[in-house]
Amino acid sequence: MVVLKDNANKQQRKQKKWLEIKKMRSFYLMLLIPMLMLFLFSYGPMYGILIAFKDFSPGLGIWQSPWNNFEHFKRLFDDYLFIRALKNTIIISLLKIIISFPAPIIFALLLNEITHDKFKRITQSISYLPHFMSWVILSTMIVEVLSPERGIINFFIGLFGGDPVHFLASKTAFIPMLIITDIWKEIGYASIIYLASMASIDTALYEAAEIDGANRFHKMIYVTIPSIMPMIIILFILRLGSILNAGFDQILNLYNPLVYEVADIIDTYVYRAGLEQFQFDYATAVGLFKNVVGITLILVANTIIRRRSEHGIW
């Protein structure tokens, strides 16, 4: 009896769901084209990942090419160029996390202290400007500013009796230039989100702190920073997840063979090995390695931080 009733219930529920789907069919119709695009251009390339495990020959195609299992992955760690790219990626990325990540937070804290509204608005608008330009455009400007012949920096170095420095061709100067130009491009835009969360802090907290005798710096340290902490943590986790993205756009436009030693990162290596030297299968293996590490890092960072502080991205 009970079983029968259960079955009837199930049937009923199924029918109800089917009715609902039918009623909402125009919604599924709307989703049709976006879903097709999703499967074609996002899931489609995932099929191409197979060639990381194959001896790919374009004539045979992805499926017909013979398997070689983990040969490409075994090769990775004997490949001097890959090790170099991995090392450079981690160094550049860590430096960016240590220096470029806090920069917009500090910038937002400083801007937040400015009470002159017009001044604040104008300087803020100026600070976003480079964000709207591509690295191709910005690189041409950077090359000029740093140029040994015409650049303003070398003009001042010359004024103080120094010899011109070829910043973008020097192994020691290239990475600092990457960090500085990265901050220059993104600091203003990245600060928007912190300024927004500062604007939403309850003013009563500041008043209470004032009554307790807090000065400006106390308020910053005990009220403002703790209030924006959840935002900082979320953005930090997302940043950690992309630790193997050291800035492909930026580096591909700024580097040159003279600085490959310190500037060649995984992505630029994949680009050259894959699309310039046509080692499709090996370059895909390198890319897959990078992708898997990135996702693992996001998962691990999120779990650790959630266990300790209940913040997290999910």
Binding site: F132, T140, M141, N291
Partner: protein, 294 residues
């Protein structure tokens, strides 16, 4: 807000404002130097110095690029790409976001997860390239707009915005016999102008600035885009710069290339600069909408 007296000027304020002014100058300076370089002659450009003002404003570089056919073609291609690409992105975003904003849509979560996976995991550079090749889209303008047409991040933002719209309005329209497409077109879209404009601007600036797909998918010069023209000039000069360190240089043709490159940069950022006051307002709003999601 301003409880403590503003009359006293603290040292902190002075230092802070000075710092921010210096920072603003540092942000603007590279733009200014490029502008000046585009208007100076080869002679001044070659002399080492603080080139913050041209001795004479010369428009030779601009005359050259306006007569240089390749740049005109690239300009038209970029405009075409930006317009069609943006329309496509906005259209697909709306079509995906509206159904996903319906809480009672069966399998809504499953579909959302399918979208989200695509945001965190992708094939990578080579599989993307192979797909475009296998579809026969190499050297086809569609390769510049189709792969980026569906952006999951935009879909999530728009979906969240749609979910804040009062359901009562839609329900009464359903009573009147309107179908869901009519409701979307006549009721939801007019109410969602801010988010639609935001995403349109994001998409337009993205397409205007994008060069990597053009680099790997397009060989034909007749289909090239502006960013690629700038990039080709940049790579040329970079190489000659690097080799010039040892040798005694100073060939005027190279300097002319710098002038031309600066002018090309100026004309290619022109539309963004013109749009800038309008655009940044919406970009900020977009960040707010985006960060509101739980």
């Amino acid at each position: 807000m301003k409880s403590n007296g503003q009359k006293k000027i603290s040292w902190f304020n002075i230092v802070n404002m000075t710092f921010i002014v210096l920072f603003s100058i540092a942000v603007l300076y590279p733009f200014w130097q490029t502008l000046v370089l585009s208007f100076t002659d080869a002679n001044q450009a070659s002399s080492l110095g603080l080139n913050i003002w041209p001795e004479r404003w010369i428009t030779d570089a601009y005359k050259f690029i306006f007569s240089y056919e390749q740049i005109g073609i690239a300009y038209i291609n970029t405009i075409l790409r930006t317009v069609t690409g943006t329309l496509l992105i906005v259209g697909l975003t709306i079509l995906a976001a509206y159904p996903l904003s319906k809480r009672n849509l069966p399998y809504r979560n499953t579909i959302t997860i399918l979208f989200l996976i695509a945001m965190f995991f992708s094939g990578g550079m080579i599989p993307d390239y192979l797909l475009i090749k296998n579809l026969g889209l190499l050297d086809n303008r569609l390769a510049l707009i189709l792969p980026s047409a569906l952006n999951v991040f935009y879909v999530i933002i728009m979906r969240n915005y749609f979910m804040t719209i009062d359901k009562g309005i839609e329900e009464s329209a359903v009573m009147d016999g309107a179908n869901h497409f009519t409701i979307l077109w006549k009721i939801i879209m007019p109410l969602s102008k801010p988010v639609i404009v935001t995403i349109a601007l994001w998409a337009a600036i993205g397409h205007w600035n994008e060069w990597f797909h053009a680099l790997i998918y397009i060989q034909d010069d007749a289909k090239t885009v502006l960013q690629m023209v700038v990039r080709e000039m940049l790579v040329d000069v970079n190489l000659s710069d690097a080799t010039q360190v040892s040798g005694a240089g100073g060939a005027s043709s190279e300097l002319l290339l710098s002038n031309v490159r600066a002018a090309t940069v100026m004309v290619s950022i022109g539309p963004i600069i013109l749009l800038y006051p309008f655009a940044q307002k919406y970009f900020i709003r977009g960040i707010m909408i985006g960060s509101l999601k739980g």
